[in-house]
């Protein structure tokens, strides 16, 4: 260890002497014993993971779970730039591959959840959307996610496979932005995930459609190679892939393997 600079040394010494003189029993430094598990997870996992975080902390006393929820690509970029995370849970295998290819994953990623698209419409459904084909009708304005983000890639795959063609009003940067446009009634519909509709229940309504099976989105999770808490990270992966984890994820609208 580096010696503290001269300026700091005197007060440091003084405090050591003082505490020794006081002879007070020092309680176990909880700050040193507490262990923190850092989980980077796709924003769509927010609700389910927070619930599982509570379970995890209960099961592992003295452990705190910290989350960083964001777009999977942002998180992948952060992991590859050396962010101190233990676990990465992505909303697509493609973004997970960015980390795997960079050698950032500590093991083989495991798919723990799946998500499919749904049509989100405002509660009053002004355009009367009942199927995917309805989106292509004249005067119907639709928000899709941009193809660069997972929900947009999935939407593109579904539309291409089903041969439905239309020009969307906008290609949103993420699911939340697309949902906002639906909630405000600025568009008649958006293609988002079932989980997003579940999270926004009341403000938007979900219309399932069979073509959604063309793009089932896998959620992989992996312990990271440079995980400071590799042991805890493995326990986390275990929890989310357990039946108990599956129950929580189903509650949030996910399918589980």
């Amino acid at each position: 260890m580096r010696r503290p600079p001269a300026l700091l040394r005197a007060p440091l010494a003084a405090s050591v002497i003082l505490s020794a003189a006081a002879c007070a029993p020092v309680p176990d430094g909880s700050a040193e014993d507490a262990r923190t598990l850092t989980v980077f997870a796709a924003a769509s996992l927010t609700g389910a993971f927070e619930e599982l975080g509570g379970v995890f902390e209960e099961r592992n006393p003295g452990t705190a779970v910290e989350f960083s929820f964001a777009g999977s690509s942002d998180l992948a970029a952060q992991v590859n730039a050396g962010a101190p995370a233990d676990v990465f849970a992505s909303a697509s295998t493609a973004t997970m591959d960015l980390v795997v290819d960079a050698g950032g994953a500590g093991g083989e990623p495991v798919v723990f959840a799946r998500n499919v698209l749904e049509i989100a419409v405002p509660p009053d459904d002004p355009a009367g959307i009942g199927s995917l084909d309805d989106l292509a009708e004249d005067g119907v304005s639709v928000a899709l996610c941009a193809e660069e983000v997972p929900c947009g890639a999935a939407a593109r795959a579904v539309l291409d496979a089903s041969g439905v063609e239309f020009e969307p009003a906008t290609l949103e940067r993420d699911v939340k932005a697309a949902l906002t446009k639906v909630e405000l009634g600025e568009v008649d519909a958006a293609l988002v995930y079932t989980t997003d509709v579940a999270a926004a229940s009341g403000r938007v309504r979900g219309v399932p459609f069979p073509e959604a099976e063309e793009a089932v989105n896998d959620y992989p999770v992996a312990v990271l190679a440079d995980a400071p808490e590799a042991g805890l990270a493995a326990s986390w992966v275990e929890l989310v892939t357990s039946p108990e984890g599956a129950e929580v994820l189903s509650g949030a609208g996910f399918r589980t393997p």
């Binding site: 660069e148 906008t170 290609l171 009634g185 600025e186």
Partner: protein
């Protein structure tokens, strides 16, 4: 006995002022260089990581050209609109007194304070298809502003106009109003005084404000993507393209950022040169 003058001695008027007894002003230069480095280094980072080998092909992609063109035209249009509305507003704030003036002055700065995304939502709530104002427009004309190129301009005006207003207001406050009086005695009406004396004399402030406004509009992201959405060729400006490119390919994002950076630098440098060289 010597005669004396009570008037005192003449002061050397032209002696240059020297600060700090002629020593090198470290106290200013060191933080100044740190500040400059802090602002410039991130760009150096972009340059260092730029994928030079694929630069040419990426630059020629039609998406890049479309986004750049859209950015330049919308930022310029937004600046024009801001000048049209912002200069009179600045004049009102600088030169008139009315109840609520202080509140009005504070309100002008609101777009500077709130996150642009919130600004975008606010614009949707007012001008959107279901908005406070927009619903009537939509009901009567069938026109809906969001997701159109004009919506990009509206979002940019919202976030960028305050820069212009504040800059012009400052210039108008600093102006010597006696010149306006001189113009009035020569027969100039208020409108002529404003057009031929006030505005030309405040020109540096107006230009600085317009440059700031243009730069801010060019870089505008949050309000634009919220209010105008993102559609290539129609509402996808460079910052939006950069953001989305970042989702998939950071290299492409770096290239786009460099393009934006170079184009804006070129425009600003040219503008500044013209402005400084013209007396």
């Amino acid at each position: 006995m010597t005669p004396f003058r009570p008037g005192g001695r003449a002061r050397p008027a032209d002696a240059p002022v020297r600060i700090g007894g002629g020593r090198f002003p470290w106290l200013l230069v060191v933080p100044a260089l740190l500040g400059l480095g802090f602002l410039v280094l991130p760009f150096a980072g972009l340059l260092a990581r730029a994928p030079w080998s694929t630069l040419g092909t990426r630059l020629l992609m039609p998406e890049v050209r479309d986004a750049l063109l859209l950015s330049l035209t919308t930022a310029t249009a937004a600046t024009a609109v801001s000048l049209l509305l912002g200069v009179p507003l600045a004049w009102l704030l600088a030169r008139t007194r009315f109840p609520g003036l202080r509140v009005a002055r504070a309100l002008v700065t609101v777009p500077l304070v709130i996150p642009p995304v919130v600004g975008g939502v606010a614009l949707l709530l007012v001008l959107g298809r279901n908005g406070v104002v927009g619903q009537y427009v939509h009901a009567w004309t069938g026109y809906s502003l969001p997701f159109t190129t004009p919506a990009v301009v509206v979002a940019q005006v919202f976030v960028a106009m305050p820069f212009l207003v504040i800059s012009v207001e400052g210039a108008l406050r600093a102006a010597d109003r006696r010149y306006e009086e001189a113009a009035a005695t020569l027969g100039a009406t208020r409108a002529v005084v404003f057009r031929r004396v006030t505005l030309p004399m405040a020109a540096p402030g107006v230009l600085a404000g317009a440059v700031l406004c243009w730069s801010r509009a060019l870089g505008e992201f949050g309000a634009t993507i919220m209010f105008a959405g993102n559609f290539p060729g129609r509402t996808q400006t460079m910052p939006l393209a950069v953001y989305l490119a970042m989702q998939q390919s950071p290299d492409a994002a770096i290239v786009l950022s460099l393009v934006l950076l170079l184009v804006s630098l070129a425009v600003l440098v040219c503008l500044r040169d013209r402005w400084v060289s013209a007396p």
